[in-house]
């Protein structure tokens, strides 16, 4: 099972009492919204399906998965990515987590530090003049950055 947190829940359940109604058990996931969860479930199902279709051919699996991922990214807004990451992290769904982290990296790669701060909800905690010095140190890395 890909959603390791859910798997953990089932394992715990089985340890406590033997229930036959596993399919109707409601698992509380307080930290996940329904929208990202839906996307993750679709992602997971797709991944398993592609894997089953290309049982022996790892390369084909990777290729098809990449195509699906490209399509998926077109429909997802960059801001949603953070929610997806948090959901995947909470559910302990490694493949999706890595994928969405890579997607965020791609999205911020050429952006300014102001953009990045806004995106992650961070603020500068440098002393006066400290940031200036840092900017000078690798000044060339600020060339060719996307406009905000």
């Amino acid at each position: 099972m890909k959603f390791c947190a859910v798997k953990q829940y089932f394992d715990d359940e089985n340890n406590n009492n033997i229930t036959s109604g596993a399919s109707t058990t409601m698992i509380p996931l307080p930290n996940v919204e329904s929208h990202p969860l839906a996307i993750l479930i679709t992602y997971c199902k797709k991944h398993l399906k592609i894997k089953a279709n290309n049982a022996d051919n790892k390369k084909e699996t990777e290729k098809e998965m990449e195509q699906y991922e490209q399509e998926l990214l077109k429909k997802v807004m960059p801001q949603e990515l953070t929610e997806l990451i948090l959901a995947a992290n909470y559910l302990n769904f490694k493949e999706a987590l890595d994928f969405f982290c890579r997607a965020v990296a791609s999205a911020i790669q050429n952006k300014s530090i102001e953009f990045v701060r806004k995106f992650f909800g961070l603020e500068s905690d440098f002393e006066l003049g400290e940031e200036e010095k840092l900017r000078e140190e690798f000044a060339w890395s600020f060339e060719g950055v996307d406009e905000d």
């Binding site: 953070t82 948090l86 890595d98 982290c101 990296a105 909800g121 961070l122 500068s124 890395s141």
Partner: protein
């Protein structure tokens, strides 16, 4: 966006970024500064990992060509006449200095693959061109071999002290069926390329790189040639106040994960020397030359050879032995090889050794 991302997730995101982005993002916050770190190949931080890892797509690791002492039973007839140019993907490129022929040879099958060409007779000068330099490499994307030849069309290189050589460049690729194809002839008067010494050049995945000394028009620079698009680019070196004068200090080129790397070390004058290792993080940008680390003289090393995947530097010491230097621990270890001589060439191949 005020959702809080745990640190391991931030590290996951940042680990996919190239060095240029990471160096810029050091300024985002103190936490990010600590996570990203300084490029120095000392601590295992994000920036050092990024220099080592983010670009690697090569199916074949770099490999050394070793000229062994023992003679093989039936060496190919042309092997005695010329020299080995380089090796790539299991094929050796050999050059017959006298006749001017170039051969590509697969040692494991002992078959001569192709005699590339004879000396070119140039109608303009009514003389044979002298081959100044020859480069060879395998292009993974084009799935083809490339041979690049520099021709001295006016035979000026034999004349007294001149930095100016009228040079023409030929690019050959082999194409399917290993047929010979003449790609292009480019006139390089503007770039004044003169290929000086063996270690001042390197090949990586479709790109040739040469160190070129200073002349009237240009400072010391690295020139790159993109084989696929047949485009030249240049990057000046750091100032000589920083890396020393090229008449006193070697510049040895290497490749580190797709970046051009350079070892700067003084000409040996009967004493041990130290090495400064630099990496060019963005080709074309002089300021992006970053000094990574320094190897002290007490290791008694002579030549840098090539980088291994984990950042270790393969080197040759003064006894001609192979040594692996680890910049993260600043220690060396000897590498055992049988029947080696002092001739190490820095090349890229799939693991075929010369006889």
């Amino acid at each position: 966006m005020s959702s809080y991302l745990p640190e391991e997730v931030v590290v996951n995101i940042l680990s996919h970024l190239p060095p240029k982005s990471l160096l810029r993002f050091r300024c985002v916050s103190k936490t990010w500064l600590a996570l990203i770190g300084t490029p120095d190949f000392v601590s295992k931080n994000l920036i050092n990992n990024s220099i080592l890892n983010t670009k690697s797509q090569h199916p074949y690791p770099p490999f050394l060509l070793v000229k062994a002492r023992e003679e093989s039973n039936s060496p190919p007839p042309f092997l005695g006449l010329g020299g080995i140019v380089s090796s790539s993907n299991g094929i050796l490129c050999l050059h017959d200095h006298f006749q001017g022929d170039v051969y590509l040879w697969n040692p494991s099958s002992s078959l001569q693959l192709l005699a590339l060409s004879r000396r070119i007779y140039c109608p303009r000068t009514k003389d044979f061109d002298y081959v100044l330099g020859l480069e060879f490499g395998f292009d993974y994307i084009a799935d083809d071999f490339k041979v690049v030849r520099f021709l001295d069309t006016l035979n000026t290189s034999f004349m007294a002290d001149t930095d100016f050589v009228d040079v023409e460049l030929e690019v050959y690729s082999l194409g399917p069926g290993l047929g010979k194809q003449f790609d292009t002839i480019l006139d390089l008067n503007m770039l004044n390329i003169f290929v000086p010494y063996e270690r001042a050049k390197v090949y990586d995945n479709g790109f040739f790189y040469w160190w070129v000394g200073p002349n009237e028009d240009y400072d010391e620079r690295i020139v790159s040639f993109d084989c696929r698009n047949e485009v030249f680019r240049m990057t000046p070196l750091p100032d000589k106040s920083v890396i020393g004068d090229c008449n006193e200090v070697w510049r040895s080129l290497m490749v580190l994960n797709g970046f051009v790397a350079m070892a700067v070390h003084p000409f040996r004058r009967k004493k041990k020397v130290s090495f400064s290792i630099w990496v060019l993080l963005e080709f074309g940008v002089k300021e992006s030359w970053t000094k990574l680390f320094r190897i002290g003289h007490y290791f008694d090393l002579e030549w840098p050879l090539c980088f291994c995947k984990n950042g270790e530097l393969l080197m040759e010491n003064r006894e001609g032995e192979l040594v692996l230097y680890d910049p993260f621990t600043q220690t060396t270890k000897n590498v055992q090889l049988n029947g080696l001589t002092k001739s190490f060439l820095n090349t890229q191949s799939s693991g075929v050794q010369a006889q």
